[in-house]
């Protein structure tokens, strides 16, 4: 069915795609524009993927061109000018967004205690002041030949930093936040030809891979086992990830922030027990800095995203895929 809806000649904001990538500094991404104004997207580095910005209610941007005026003698007094600098400034309004995941084997989304994938990037700007993000804004314009042909989008792409995070949090209303984006480097504008398949807009970004102790294709097993008693205070604590209880789950990695997602704690007081965390193949080893306290119930909390797996578009392990978080869990045991 072609897009012949009444009013279809005017673009509707909900048919825009706002997406981001976190480049690895000092690298930046730049699309290229050919002589006809058509865009070629940058090639993303291995392990990186676009994250859609959803929940956005306003996103205006403007190009600030600084001009220096001058006059040439003999030009009848007319002014001339030259652009000395230019930048793109965007101003966005969004909701404070919570994470929604669709568990494996289910079509029912569930809300988990975390930021949504896109909002996590925005909120990080609250403390990380040199955190560059590559932004793309694509507006659906329809098919090249009306009801046939490739899908064409208006394109704006730029690297920038998020500034001026503002969370007014008025009582009895939805929690809205605002932020600005200031470009770094040259923005690129033009038309993007997505080919015969339209870009997906607004789909649920389920970036978390479901895990379970004894079912599914991403399983975990702990040592000591859950509810174990009389565990030696010097016992090694491990988490082993498999696809079926035996064969190793591959392409695992600790997140860039390290092993902090594996937290060993006193189950009654919640006080953390300092421990090192190391991943070897599919086994995470948690090594306490000292002997475990005797006759104590301890809990190992594995947070969502404490470990990640590189997967392809079908969520199969792939060295050239993108990293997704594995679902967390917790287990308890008692020392001797």
């Amino acid at each position: 069915m072609a897009d012949f809806a009444i009013g279809g000649s005017i673009h509707k904001a909900n048919r825009s795609l706002l997406r981001m990538v976190i480049p690895t500094l000092p690298n930046r991404y730049f699309a290229t524009r050919d002589g006809a104004g058509m865009i070629t997207l940058p090639t993303l580095a291995t392990g990186q993927a676009y994250i859609e910005m959803q929940g956005i209610t306003k996103c205006g941007f403007k190009v600030d061109d600084r001009e220096e005026e001058f006059r040439l003698f003999g030009d009848d007094g007319w002014f001339d000018s030259v652009t000395t600098a230019s930048k793109l400034s965007a101003s966005c309004e969004s909701f404070f967004m919570k994470n929604i995941e669709v568990p494996g084997g289910s079509t029912v989304p569930e809300i988990r205690g975390d930021y949504s994938e896109d909002f996590a990037i925005v909120e990080r700007s609250r403390y990380d002041k040199d955190y560059e993000v590559y932004f793309e804004i694509l507006k659906e314009m329809g098919r090249a030949q009306g009801s046939t042909g490739n899908f064409i989008y208006d394109f704006a792409g730029f690297n920038g930093v998020i500034r001026g995070y503002n969370d007014p949090s008025a009582s009895e209303s939805l929690t809205k936040i605002t932020f600005d984006v200031n470009s770094r480097g040259r923005p690129v504008f033009g038309r993007y030809d997505a080919g015969a398949t339209p870009l997906s807009i607004g789909a649920i970004q389920s970036t978390q891979l479901a895990t379970a102790a004894s079912s599914g294709t991403r399983r975990w097993a702990t040592s000591p086992v859950d509810n174990a008693s009389a565990v030696a205070v010097s016992a090694a604590i491990t988490v082993t990830y498999t696809i079926d209880g035996t064969a190793a789950l591959t392409q695992l990695a600790l997140p860039p922030t390290g092993g902090g997602g594996f937290r060993l704690e006193n189950a009654s007081s919640g006080i953390q027990i300092l421990a090192g965390v190391a991943l070897a193949s599919n086994v995470v080893t948690i090594t306490p800095a000292a002997s475990l306290p005797a006759a104590t119930i301890l809990r190992l909390r594995v947070a969502d995203g404490a470990i990640q797996q590189s997967v392809d578009a079908s969520n199969n392990a792939s060295a050239n895929g993108v990293r997704k978080s594995l679902q967390g869990f917790s287990t308890t045991f008692r020392t001797a």
Binding site: R15, Q54, I56, T57, P109, F151, I201, G202, A203
Partner: protein, 145 residues
């Protein structure tokens, strides 16, 4: 249901569970012809004849009726549709020794932004409470084809 038709919020069954957790203890029961009882919580509009409980069921105490389909109001949105869903819920107290006061307060505490319209009992009608529960979700826009 396809991913595109999934709203990023609780579905009907999850709404029912949440509401039963909230005021299930206050509800009365349906008495089935077999004598079995069920919590007096009805969801309307499931199909022909589903707009009310079967005529041979009896009701004791307080009944809650939830409209199956919420009213949706668009709140704008860029790259997605942000919608306010309003779930309509009606309580009827068929027992003159009870009131809807506790349920009204329970609803207010759980959903302070809900619209609540109490209707006192009259000579001809039972005490009622109409509640509109707001719920904001995001929905995937229709894709180009």
């Amino acid at each position: 249901m396809s991913d595109q038709l999934v709203e990023r919020g609780p579905n009907l069954l999850q709404i029912r569970e949440q509401l039963l957790d909230l005021f299930g203890a206050q509800l009365g029961v349906y008495i089935l012809p077999s004598g079995a009882t069920k919590p007096a919580f009805w969801i309307t509009g499931g199909g022909k004849g589903q707009h009310r409980v079967p005529p041979d069921w009896k009701i004791r105490g307080i009944e809650a009726v939830l409209q199956r389909r919420p009213v949706r109001q668009g709140l704008g949105g860029i790259g997605t549709i942000i919608a306010k869903r309003i779930w309509s819920l009606t309580f009827v107290c068929y027992d003159s020794t009870q009131t809807l006061d506790d349920i009204d307060l329970l609803i207010f505490r759980a959903f302070p932004d809900a619209q609540r319209r109490p209707r006192p009992a009259t000579d001809d009608t039972y005490e009622q409470l109409n509640v509109e529960l707001p719920d904001v979700v995001t929905i995937q826009p229709t894709q180009l084809t």
